[in-house]
Symmetry: D2
């Protein structure tokens, strides 16, 4: 441990693991610890974290508890949703999108408190360490990052608990044994992985799910809702204006009730291995479908297809931790440019795991009944034009066929 630090800002949940990290940092580096606990909508009381931090000797002015829910949805989730981002075809990036915001605050608090390092509780096998650290370095190239799980020798649960007991850290009874899986939660999703989920042939046990009812237990009657959009962002549910975080929370309630947004996935981690995860993104799944729905009538084909082509790279960048990178910002500039007229209302049917777009309307609609109709179109479209269109599109294929026969 050749480096030394005088003050370290830790992403602190108040749970056992990050409490052990507080102590380990104090013991190992002899440094002051600043704790930062973020409300990202994970659905837990945060004030207990303050008491625990105080108990571990953190100075009151070094205990940060921030409600970041609106910023999270407005500046991170919504911009991402404008891109229709799904990693590897399905994953709505619920964990990935939260990490840069946490790092942003860690770096800001480090500046405010004169800390020379930040620390996080992510392991050395996962993507989160990459996301935390790339974001931190991109925002402050001189910051030091401490990743205790890559450094310490508390390799087993037993060692961790021994360390905790040795240092008078309370160990809740249910944390003594191995957890059957590990989770991460925020306003967008809950993810679960590890242990009982490690065999990708085995179905995810029902007790793993915490954010959605089983579709089989969902109401037998469909529910219809509307979401209003302005410039590509959701602004109202069933006609009622809502802030970003309020809207997503309300959609989460609807998604939970109707069993929407469960995903069982084997994905490719940036660190090189495959992992199997279970995701619940109830409100996000509804929102993502609604966004595509409103785009379908307000985006021109050229814009829509370019977005589809750029999306996999955009999603990969977020997944890999490159939110704060020039290339993600360039793609965002392109995407945001396309959303200027993405206004209107989408109607969805929610029913036992399904969130289906059943209607969409917009003051900016590009859908033209006059052009598409099977009825008389009053000259809007001259079918004879299609002949020339096809002929010229075919020309290169004909020249090719003549050569190759």
């Amino acid at each position: 441990m050749s480096e030394s630090f005088k003050r370290v800002v830790l992403a602190y949940s108040g749970g056992l693991d990050t409490s052990v990290i507080v102590k380990w940092l104090q013991v190992t580096y002899g440094c002051e610890v600043v704790t930062f606990t973020a409300d990202l909508g994970q659905g837990e009381e945060l004030e207990p974290a303050r008491a625990k931090a105080e108990l571990m000797g953190i100075k009151p002015e070094h205990i940060y508890i921030d409600d970041l829910r609106e910023e999270f949805v407005r500046d991170f989730i919504f911009p991402m949703m404008r891109a229709n981002a799904r990693y590897e075809g399905d994953y709505l990036l619920g964990t990935s999108i939260a990490r840069p915001l946490i790092s942003k605050r860690l770096v800001e608090i480090a500046a405010e408190t004169g800390a020379d390092a930040v620390a996080h509780g992510a392991t050395g096998k996962g993507n989160d360490q990459v996301r935390f650290e790339l974001s931190a370095y991109a925002l402050n190239p001189d910051i030091k990052v401490i990743a205790p799980w890559r450094e310490w020798d508390l390799a087993s649960r037993t060692a961790l608990i021994e360390f905790a007991e040795k240092h008078q850290i309370p160990v809740p009874k249910d944390k003594r044994g191995e957890s059957p899986f590990s989770t991460d939660a925020n306003l967008l999703h809950t993810s679960s992985e590890g242990k009982v989920l490690e065999d990708p042939w085995e179905e995810t046990p029902d007790y793993v799910y915490s954010r959605t009812v089983n579709p089989e237990d969902a109401p037998d009657t469909p529910e219809y809702i509307t979401i209003d959009f302005a410039k590509g962002d959701g602004i109202a549910l069933n006609g009622e204006a809502m802030s970003p975080a309020t809207l997503l929370a309300a959609l989460n309630d609807l998604g939970r009730k109707h069993g929407i947004g469960r995903l069982d996935l084997v994905e490719n981690r940036y660190v090189g291995m495959k992992s199997r995860g279970m995701y619940e993104t109830p409100g996000g799944e509804i929102y993502a479908r609604a966004h595509r729905g409103i785009e379908s009538i307000t985006l021109d084909r050229g814009a829509a297809h370019l977005k589809d082509e750029l999306m996999p790279k955009y999603a990969e960048l977020i997944y890999n931790g490159f939110w704060f990178s020039p290339e993600r910002e360039m793609l965002q500039a392109a995407i945001d440019h396309s959303q200027e007229k993405v206004d209107g209302t989408v109607r969805l049917k929610l029913y036992k795991g399904n969130a289906s777009v059943v209607g969409r309307k917009s003051p900016n609609s590009l859908y033209s009944e006059r052009h598409v109709t099977f009825e008389d179109d009053a000259g809007a479209y001259d079918q004879k034009d299609a002949a020339g269109f096809i002929k010229l599109n075919a020309l290169r294929l004909k020249l090719l066929a003549k050569r190759d026969r």
Copy 2:
């Protein structure tokens, strides 16, 4: 009508519209007509088409009725499914993928019968005319294509029926009035569009659906199935080996029963307008999800992400009618190269509109519990490597941050 033809091969369904076309071709061009009726799994008796053709004076040796179902699935649908192709994020391209096969047979039959032109019954506003004609020209650059809907003056339903009656073509009672929507069906899907579907704000009426039960009427108990894959193609259902078309048909039955594969979409046509369609792709939806499932454990990340990046372009090419084009074939070569080891079994849960992958296994799995485990991994992975990995990935971001602060 400056051109003249001596013999024309028509894509003939046996229905009223293409019967009118037979007569119109005979009358307009004074040509012989060769009828070609394909069984693509649309679920209709084809032999009546023979009788009708004979009635209209087609020579018996000029009546072609071909069962193309296996070729359709093996050489068109399965290759497309290897790419996970979805147009504009959702549409499984059920109509688009059938057109090149029909054109291929039209051109072949033209060669066999010494015909100098082919004809189709697609309108001048849609994509199908483009798909038929680009394929035909790509396969025989000297072929002529007749598109009666772009040429004739039978602009209204009334005019069409008058023409039929004038030429003794039987008009079934249910064809006298306007159909409330128009459909296209084959083994992969049924699409519906027009009339009652033209307002994208209005929910699709229930009577439009023909291939799936309403999820609300589907069984209350989930059904679990397995699909086996070899080299990226489905080969067995629930352990029972099946030919491509048999497998897809069996999946269609399952999808119908569980209300799977309904899609209500506003899409961008190649000819420049938006249209609203309703698609039912029961077996295809199940198959597409299963294919992604088996890829998730057998494809390397590099291959998987490249496929995701190429997919939108690949899907657009098929949608636009460029199946027989060098660029589609190049993409197919890349995609097929990736499927060599895509073997194994996927388990799915079917329930009221949902087809969820719940398990996957493969003799070629790249998923390594040893690497991913939270337990001791016996040295498979050195967490310290992650520090260097992150440092070097961060280097350019740090240099940037130093410059820009």
Copy 3:
């Protein structure tokens, strides 16, 4: 000729061909003609066009002669150069980029003069008709476009000259015979095609070149220059501040003198055929190389590679005439976002056809001698990090190799 027009704005060069079009429009449509002659730096006197127009009965207030050089370079060429756009690897898009500006003015003048149509002198075989018309329709969806070359029956040179003589249009002696090739010129380039260039195996005859000396006749001594950039655009030559058009004109002089920017190309037209063209882009070639040079030290890798990936599509859009399209604008937004810090100075060596970057410096340089040096780097870079970086990048390849052996 079912349509009728009361006033038509014509892109008018003052040459024989567009003079014939003036008369043909008057005769055919009985309409008033408004002439628009743009100075795009083609190097011709424009005032003679005024006299000719007057001779043909155009009202003085309907004769527009505009100097668009600064707008052309500032708002069209420079944005395109920010993207490093080259069509099919080489072509700097000199003709393509001028068309949207001409259409923009045509449409504006139509609004000012109450005209109901615009007209251009491009043939039905080329790309320019597409570029003119797509731009016009994108800017005014109700505008009508007249393309006389697609409509009239003046198919041969002889017919054209007969028409001219019949209508008292003066025919210069050197226009009586067939021109050995056709050209287009503006501040960015001169293109030549047709006739003597039609056999792609034959070397372009020397007399075709008009904008550059033969490299063999260029000075035997190299000349060194510097170009300064700010936010991705050129602002000074050899330290002397210049407006966009002045800078490009000065670079054209340098390029001409040193025989720089000749290109003999077989390209793929949007209308489906291949054509062989000869391009001279003296200043543009120097500028394009300089721009890449300044980017090489000021752009981060992520931004630079994303730009390289987007470029072919961007160039294709401009070539095909989609300057005024949502997707070109989206790409431009991404590209422009990357240019914020593209400031500095590039030094080039000009010598007999070569324009080589030999030095670059910037207040925003990301090049770090400290990191890259073979000498002691004072701890800027820890070579041990590379081991972890490689290990984690190799992990997926190792898992693959284990499976596949």
Copy 4:
């Protein structure tokens, strides 16, 4: 040094640095060393390497000297040239493409000799370490790789020479001081970097160039050559059939004479920093231009544009060391599919740094004078088709313009 090895295969040049590595491996690991010296056309005698290796105690059967020139050009350079690969717009990847072949032989020799590790002489700051190691791991996931420059403490030139003298390794006089730059050479190129090249504002001194004459000293008379291609690969020079390596060597002679292929570049390394390099690729530059020339008449637009879009990613993969990766192989499959008809002859003019395509012909040419001619085309192309083509391409832009005005 916790690991131990019994036998290590070293990429051995016979120079001072790799001789030091031989001894360092013997001393540090107590292992046997197998030396592998490859003739990749670097233009040096290889037999002296044998004598030096013997002097250091390598067993005769453990000294491998292989002529890999034909394999290098046929299986690595030519496939890459089929893609028109240039990294960051310019660099022809001369060093990058050699590394996977060296690694392939290292791994093969390890298998033949029962070695448990391979070693290379690349530093910890560059790309070559990544290329060597990714290739080695991809070909044998169990191989160990030793990178002495990342491990030892011979950080300065002085320390290295002291080590050499201590171990009786002869130190040539010209290797005592610091070299003013470092080079890598093979049949495709010579690269130089470091020291005198580290300031990107300073012009590369003339003495750095070794493979080309200064264009100013090149012949005053142009030289014309032809290259014949079959299936995308060069097969003859001036009509004389040649093997791949013979052809490239002959082009190198021509390029040297005419001062072709010099490139002064600041590039982005995969390890995160920018570096400035000087490349000489005399024959490769000529070949690359010729290949694009023959493609210009034999590739369809769809294939050509897809290749252009894929190229940046393909080049990046090679640059970053992912030659042996599924995604590079997928792209290669697509590219190779396009080359089936890339046959014919290209004529080039070589003159003082310029290699210009001046003619191209092919039995498979897609260029059609009949279509493109300004003369009467005998009905090959109907200009009226262009009207419909433009109208339908404009439709979406018109709908957009109507909405947005």
